[in-house]
Symmetry: C3
């Protein structure tokens, strides 16, 4: 069966760019199922794309092909690549976009919780996923004419379609040792003399549609009985869900919880934490033992 | 054949939430056709979601599975449910979201006009659709780990995928007598001594992308030769379509018509009635015999 | 196999209009693959829709059915039509929306570069595509009840689904000699006494999500060593891609290039040309030999 193809781009949906990529894919793999992860990555924001791809990866079907394009350097020397992570294949530019997902275990059905990609020495690395990568250097798998500005249509889309049809990684490109890494935002951890974690400091790495602040701190970064500090606010304890506790009537007060990505989130029940706190991507988020 | 799955959420399209739900569905039902109804229900606006679902329902294929998630209470005691309406199954939180659609006849091919859901005694009820409902209390149909904040991915999506594969309503949950009802916005009707309708008063329940005001008044709520009053304007008679009459040149004047949902709409030809009238959801809409 | 169906509308994605059209299609052609080209054509902007459709057309699969609806005149005398261009069929209102695409060669796999649709005598015509057209006048292929305001759901969608299932153009309607033409924005060309092109003047016809200004000037409209004038700026030479040259550090300076649609585009590396230049659709774009 044709492998399913997942798309993640910064193309938006007001132009026909995404539709044209799908048209090209269906011209090559007519029975491919094509699924949008998102096309609303902020224009040319590689880091936002890497975050989106990393959080989606654990839930992909085992045999997924992912076409990811956030590509400010299209037409320059940056390499087109494909990366195999277990049975899943990621296709896109070699600008760091794929690197966080390449470090995440893709273990569908049952999906495990998202492994925290930050806890490497120094906090700057990606996870130690096992992957193999190729440089896409075989024009026979591309459209006959490749524009300088739309490789999603002319190169990445056709390669993804070929992979979906059963062409192997080894056929579409030449092996490469390393892919471009994007530094994962630093988490600073403080431990007591016995080595016990007593505090950690990170930052908001995503604001979602509901205004939730999603940080780069995972459950393992939280001391027992944590107090969260963000944008001048202090939040005591974690909430189990997005609702204020029934006992209180603290409608507009922020809460902290481990969100669906396995990361510490700040939310305002029935409101927007980003608006309420005046916070955004990059806002510092700190936790300490109470 | 796998049943088609229709999605309706407030997840938006800027995050990967929708894509991840689809990924999980395809992991369980690899050949499912998944169709977006909309993901732009305003965040946590159950009523707007109920309206959208109700207007889409009459046009769904007979065997559709609908996954509807507008779920501010995710992780609290609100129940996850599935509702069978004729051959169609609705899956989502038991917070009223599904209740208007559950009261609508789903009669595809030929789709009948949308039955007006308002004309029950007191005007507050939903239609008297026949449905059966279950509480989703069988974890073997969910993902192994269910987060507190993303039941679309962890619970509703997997159940919808199982239903699409042919699992029955009785298998996925335990019968429940009643589902949570959402009051339908009140229509006040005035009749003369002979019982003839001479006036009705309702409100705008949706503003669409074109700026059209869609009211909760159905064709049966309109007296003969109606005059519509809205936002201080008076509109005499109904128009057959969105264009001004050719005889006149009343470009920016509002018109009234029975729209595609079978409800009274106010439009401004080649413009936005919402902007032109300064009106929104909740704006009063009255009709009277001329 | 069922033909793939591509959708292009101004319905937006905040309402359920698009989802309902897809539901109706799947009710008629249950295994149809349905692909969105875009639904974000500005409301009732026929010209923007015609541009989008024209640029997508060369990349469609050979057997595509395209359902295109930007239809301010829905319910009036404007005709519903279907247009056959090679093996591809376009379905929509006869208001000019389909006319630019009907003049473009649809030559998938390998897609040729987009033929420039402007170079007819006087510069106002569309290309000389060969097509045949029918008026959709056979209600047996529509929904039983056709509303006055939503032909996408009630008429065009059902016809597209029938075509996808293998019903022929001749079955769904009666032949018509001519379809409504939309004038293509004029390109003024200046030649020297030997007939050599030395200058051309056109306009921006689209602003894309990245803020790029896409003009109606094709590669054939550019003299050798062109200088582009737009919004008071002068751009010397064409760039090969969206990045500033490495030698310079001209981050926010506009560049000109032949974009992925085969048309002259103005871009600002890592920025928005539309914002930077204060330009929009209709802004004059001129080229001259340097």
């Amino acid at each position: 069966m044709t492998r399913p193809i997942f798309l993640l781009t910064d193309f938006g949906q007001s132009d026909i760019y995404v539709g044209v990529v799908k048209a090209v894919i269906l011209g090559i793999a007519p029975d491919a199922r094509i699924v949008d992860l998102t096309h609303e990555v902020p224009p040319q924001d590689i880091r936002a794309g890497a975050y989106a791809l990393m959080t989606a990866a654990p839930y992909l079907p085992a045999d997924a092909v992912v076409l990811a394009v956030v590509d400010p350097g299209v037409g320059t020397a940056r390499r087109p690549i494909a990366v195999q992570v277990e049975a899943c294949t990621l296709v896109g530019p070699d600008n760091g976009l794929l690197s966080w997902a390449a470090g995440v275990a893709i273990t569908p059905r049952p999906p495990a919780g998202l492994p925290h990609p930050g806890p490497l020495p120094g906090g700057e690395g990606r996870g130690e996923g096992r992957y193999s990568a190729v440089v896409l250097d075989r024009p026979r798998f591309w459209l006959p004419t490749v524009s300088a500005t739309f490789h999603g249509r002319d190169l990445f889309g056709p390669v993804a379609a070929q992979l979906a049809r059963g062409v192997t990684l080894a056929e579409v490109g030449s092996p490469t040792e390393a892919i471009q890494q994007l530094p994962f935002p630093l988490v600073q951890r403080t431990r007591d003399t016995s080595g016990r974690l007593i505090a950690a400091r990170g930052e908001a790495i995503h604001i979602d549609r509901f205004g939730n602040l999603i940080s780069n701190l995972g459950a393992a970064d939280l001391p027992a009985d944590p107090v969260v500090s963000v944008a001048g606010r202090r939040i005591v304890g974690l909430s189990p869900h997005f609702q204020p506790s029934e006992a209180s009537s603290e409608g507009q007060r922020p809460i902290a919880l481990i969100g669906s990505a396995g990361l510490l989130e700040i939310a305002v029940p029935n409101g927007s934490a980003a608006t309420e706190l005046g916070a955004g991507v990059g806002t510092a988020v700190a936790v300490a033992a109470s």
